[in-house]
């Protein structure tokens, strides 16, 4: 296993260098450059100002020198200065955008995976019934809907007409007047507290699973969840730091509801169908027959035997999806005015802000490589039949 991990890590590094090189040259092959785009069509900018910009951005050097410098700087974790927001560091821009992207898309991801898994499990069990037809048609209908239209309709209905939720954006400027925090500080704190509570709950549940007796095990799980909730409430209400930040976190959470709901409605069907087919396949296995023969309840057979095994492809898909969370989504970010990494990717490429585009792509590349690596390892852990070769 160790040799396998080392070999995979080495492959990842090599693959990343190739990826970075190809991406660099592809971006540099784009027609024109940012100076032309920005200044050539502006009659107020004289040619000498264009030359100043070219020299500042290092575009006057030969391409191979630019590439060499970039690679050296990159591996020293210096991603350079943004062309479009000169002299702002690329790392600052990514650090600004990443928290809000992660909070939105990770929340949505967890939401639609959970909804999709529950619905898929239900469908497989209710195969051929009217309920299956309704849920499938509904889910697939939402899955195929034109997303920007659907999102706008949701904003129109729930925000503009009913007034239940805010009209896009991730905060309300009126409530942030003279705020002692930046939105990013709140995003990070919100994310960290939810993550800490989730990890705590997951740890309690995993530990509780080791308890053999049913009653104390259930009690331990319930207690763990309740304690997690209490800890969360205590932090946001009971501590000075939490209480001070709570109105701002609440404002962001309120703005989170609609995009998460829309993303969940549109995306859960994919996971639902994946779970359903996996469940159907599992339910044909002998061990399900054995479980039924033992006299277990239908719910126990479904949830404790079939669903757990059927979880494997869903988990794989989830890990890979988590790896792509930092891509954000340009449509969601645009319609809901939630500028994050998706917007950075699109604008940096269209503006030919090469350092910013490269750094963004690099993060995505690293996350994708790590995601695939984790999936490989996870397969072995989740499915005892799979073992990696030395």
């Amino acid at each position: 296993m160790t040799r396998y991990v080392v070999r995979r890590l080495a492959q990842m590094v090599l693959l990343f260098v190739v990826f970075l090189t190809v991406t660099w040259f592809l971006l540099y092959a784009l027609p024109g450059d940012i100076v032309k785009q920005k200044f050539a069509t502006n009659p107020n900018i004289p040619p000498e100002a264009r030359q100043v910009a070219i020299e500042r951005l290092g575009l006057d050097k030969p391409v191979l020198i630019q590439f060499r410098d970039y690679m050296i700087n990159f591996f020293q974790l210096d991603f350079g200065l943004s062309f479009n927001q000169y002299p702002r560091k690329v790392s600052d821009i990514i650090a600004e955008r990443l928290p809000r992207t992660i909070v939105l898309f990770l929340t949505a991801l967890v939401s639609y995976y959970y909804a999709g898994f529950l619905a898929g499990k239900y469908l497989a069990w209710r195969r051929g019934k009217r309920g299956e037809m309704v849920v499938t048609i509904g889910g697939v209908g939402l899955y195929t809907v034109f997303y920007p239209w659907f999102a706008l309709m949701a904003i129109w209905l729930f925000a503009a007409e009913l007034g239940w939720l805010p009209i896009s954006k991730f905060l309300n400027p009126d409530e942030w007047r003279n705020a002692p925090f930046t939105a990013n500080q709140v995003f990070i704190r919100l994310f960290m507290t939810v993550l800490a509570v989730s990890v705590f709950m997951a740890a309690v549940v995993l530990l509780a699973n080791r308890i053999r007796d049913h009653r104390p095990r259930t009690f331990a799980k319930l207690g763990g969840v309740a304690l997690g909730v209490v800890l969360f409430i205590w932090y946001w209400w009971g501590t000075a730091g939490g209480a001070l930040m709570r109105p701002y976190a609440g404002d962001i959470a309120e703005h989170l509801i609609l995009p998460v709901a829309v993303l969940t409605a549109v995306n859960f069907a994919g996971i639902m169908l994946l779970t359903r087919s996996s469940m159907l396949e599992t339910m044909r296995e002998d061990f399900i027959l054995t479980a039924r023969a033992k006299g277990l309840s239908e719910r126990a057979v479904r949830d404790r035997h079939a669903a757990r095994t059927a979880l494997l492809p869903v988990t794989t898909s989830l890990v890979l999806a988590v790896a792509t969370v930092i891509d954000g989504g340009i449509l969601t970010e645009t319609v809901f005015s939630w500028p994050g990494m998706g917007e950075v990717l699109v604008t940096s490429v269209s503006n030919e802000d090469i350092p910013l585009a490269l750094a963004s792509f690099s993060f995505i590349g690293i996350m994708a490589l790590v995601g695939h690596f984790l999936v490989d390892i996870l397969y072995g852990v989740l499915d005892p039949r799979i073992r990696v070769g030395g």
Partner: protein, 662 residues
């Protein structure tokens, strides 16, 4: 067991809901207020210093913007980071002169002289002495003096002229290389001296025309020495200087930047000691205006005549301006309809598709103005057949702009002929007519054929108008130039329909009209950046035939010369992409550079405009209307102005006199 498991799950779900509810719940106001003050001292945020933030007392003007400003440093906002959004939200600095809303008449701002003084010879150099107002204060209450003007120039000089718009605003004089010819780009400002706290002398190394004085240096931004001086002193280079935050930096306008939350909003707050507050401006149709300040009334820009186009008292009326970022116009329109924002601020205006939606809302107002710019067809005059004037004239004759604007493009475009849009009334040449104006399609064809034939062009098959089919049957074939050279296959580059459907459509019609004449033109939808890369690249001047692009313009029409004088050829990095070279035109350009009065300059612009309309390196095709929407809860002093209301929102300009509706 089944019941207990189900209960466990429900408790888990309830737990998650509790977490969300806990995060969403709002605390008591009292608790927030007290604790905020404690933490504000210790937390690093992007807020301005407390001293520059008066508590809002009036109304909040909320404006939707569609892209995040790139910087809060007002120096960087004019350099490479400059974009229209950054220009909108940065509250501006102040300048010696500015433009009067809504007519764009040059008007004194920080200067006391009603008209910009004339530049005079000063030994081997040229200089101008400007008197400053003695009642102007920065937003921190300190007086603005000549030292601030000197500091601004010296800072630009320290950082070698800076970049972006600075070389235009504060052009630096540089030494000519004695071994080469005199280089125009070395012309600029030699020095700026403070003769007294209210008198500043600006010295040039050449006799500047209007384009430099007053239309560059006199309207250049001036920064406060007390605030920026130490920062400029400490900065090793411009990058370090630009990294300084400008939030709360003193300025000489009515608002001061207060807060910025990247990706969400920008807030400017009204200052309580704005030096121009309460001044009454009455602007007349001919651009002249009166200023009533402190009991005295003065007249500027000539003798007033015509209707009053704006009559207002300078604010600020809004206690704060919040620029709220929306990434999508549809969401922003919903926010406008819902009362979340008062005005949609966009250099491109409202999408036409949303105009009807906005018109159906009684509490919203829609205004339509002409944009200060034009879309054009350019010929590469370095290559045959575009090098032949008759060829260009014949093709231009076939282009029916009114038909295109009104019928094909359904009013989304306004036919244009002049290089100066009619809305720029002082400079425009409304009498300039398009080639073959007023002719029917048949007459246009016949006229175009006549132009070519008269110039010695021949066909193997001459195009003929078929009245029965109302079409050109047969089309022209075998077109040859006066020297017998066959017309090669030509390419017309134009932005694709995804980028600009108007220009894409136009290119297809031009292709058809050209083919009627026997000119083998192929319209090629091309990415905007590809076209720009090709036509502005000095080494690629022979790699294209024709293209369609557009220009956004400033008020002072020096572009008329910059786009066509031979020294600006794109082969040497200039704006003259057609490679147009005409000694008569260059002579006009030289006269324009030396012009000392607006009237003299205007006459030269009109002559140049007419010359281009005759020679046609460009065929000006159309301009577009700018549609804007705002709630009836606010009131602008006027709504008819070139380039729309948005063009006056830069540096909080018009926002200062935007009132809450009665």
């Amino acid at each position: 067991m089944r019941i207990k498991l189900a209960r466990w799950r429900w408790i888990a779900v309830l737990g998650v809901f509790t977490l969300v509810a806990a995060a969403c719940a709002q605390p008591g106001t009292e608790e927030t207020t007290t604790t905020q003050a404690e933490v504000a001292e210790t937390t690093t945020t992007t807020k301005a210093p407390e001293t520059t933030e008066p508590e809002p007392t009036g109304y909040t003007l909320t404006v939707a913007i569609f892209s995040d400003p790139t910087t809060d440093n007002p120096w960087a906002a004019i350099d490479t980071e400059s974009d229209v959004w950054t220009g909108y939200v940065n509250p501006g600095q102040g300048s010696l002169y500015g433009f009067q809303f809504p007519t764009y008449t040059l008007a004194p701002a920080l200067a006391a002289d009603p008209e910009p003084p004339t530049v005079q010879p000063d030994g081997d150099l040229w200089s101008v002495t400007v008197n400053l107002r003695d009642d102007v204060t920065w937003s921190d209450g300190t007086p603005m003096t000549a030292e601030d003007v000197v500091f601004t120039f010296e800072t630009v000089k320290k950082f070698d002229g800076l970049g972006g718009n600075f070389p235009s605003a504060w052009p630096l004089a540089r030494e000519d290389d004695p071994s080469t010819e005199e280089d125009e780009s070395n012309n600029g400002v030699v020095s700026v001296e403070a003769l007294s706290p209210t008198q500043v002398k600006i010295t040039f190394n050449f006799d500047p025309g209007l384009a430099i004085w007053p239309f560059s240096v006199a309207i250049a931004p001036i920064y406060q020495k007390a605030f920026w001086g130490p920062k400029a002193e400490a900065a090793a280079d411009s990058a370090a200087f630009y990294s300084e935050s400008g939030l709360g930096a003193p300025n000489a306008t009515a608002y001061n930047s207060s807060e910025r939350e990247p990706g969400a909003f920008w807030r400017n707050v009204a200052i309580d000691n704005y030096w121009d507050q309460g001044t009454r401006y009455t602007v007349y149709e001919n651009g002249a205006f009166t200023v009533e300040r402190g009991g005295t009334t003065e007249t500027y820009g000539g003798e007033p005549s015509g209707d009053v186009v704006a009559d207002y008292v300078e604010g600020p009326y809004a206690s704060e301006i919040v620029y709220s970022l929306y990434s999508d116009q549809n969401s922003a329109v919903l926010a406008l309809t819902d009362g979340e924002v008062d005005f949609l601020l966009n250099p491109l205006g409202l999408q036409r598709g949303l105009q009807q939606l906005v018109l159906s809302e009684p509490e919203l107002n829609v205004i339509v103005n002409e944009q200060n710019g034009f879309r054009y067809l350019a010929f590469n005059t370095r290559k045959f057949p575009m090098s032949d004037k008759a060829f260009r004239q014949a093709l231009a004759c076939r282009i029916d702009k009114e038909f295109m604007a009104n019928t094909v493009l359904g009013g989304a475009a306004i036919a244009a002929n002049s290089l100066v849009p009619p809305g720029n009334s002082f400079w425009a040449n409304p009498d300039l007519e398009e080639t073959c104006a007023g002719l029917s399609e048949q007459e246009r064809l016949e006229k175009a054929v006549q132009i070519l034939r008269d110039a010695g062009w021949t066909w193997t098959q001459e195009p003929v108008w078929d009245e029965a089919n109302r079409d050109v049957i047969p089309k022209g074939e075998g077109l040859r130039g006066p020297n017998g050279e066959e017309v090669p296959d030509l390419t017309l580059l134009a932005p694709g329909p995804g980028y600009d459907p108007l220009r894409a459509t136009y290119s297809l019609f031009i292709e058809g009209w050209a083919e009627d004449l026997g000119i083998p033109v192929k319209a090629e939808p091309t990415g905007f950046s590809v076209i720009v890369d090709k036509v502005f690249e000095p080494s690629a001047v022979m790699d294209w035939d024709m293209y369609i692009l557009g220009w956004g313009l400033g008020v002072f029409p020096d572009h008329v010369f910059d786009f066509f004088k031979s020294s600006q050829d794109s082969a040497v990095g200039g704006f003259n992409t057609p490679g147009y070279s005409n000694p008569d035109f260059d002579a006009l350009a030289d006269q324009f550079d030396r012009a000392k009065t607006l009237e003299e300059a205007r006459d030269l612009v009109k002559q140049a405009d007419a010359m281009i309309a005759e020679d046609l390196p460009y065929v000006v095709l159309f301009t577009t209307p700018i549609i804007e929407a705002y709630r009836n809860t606010i009131e602008f002093p006027a709504t008819t102005t070139l380039d729309g209301i948005q063009n006056w929102f830069g540096g909080v300009g018009l926002a200062t006199s935007t009132k809450q509706a009665a």
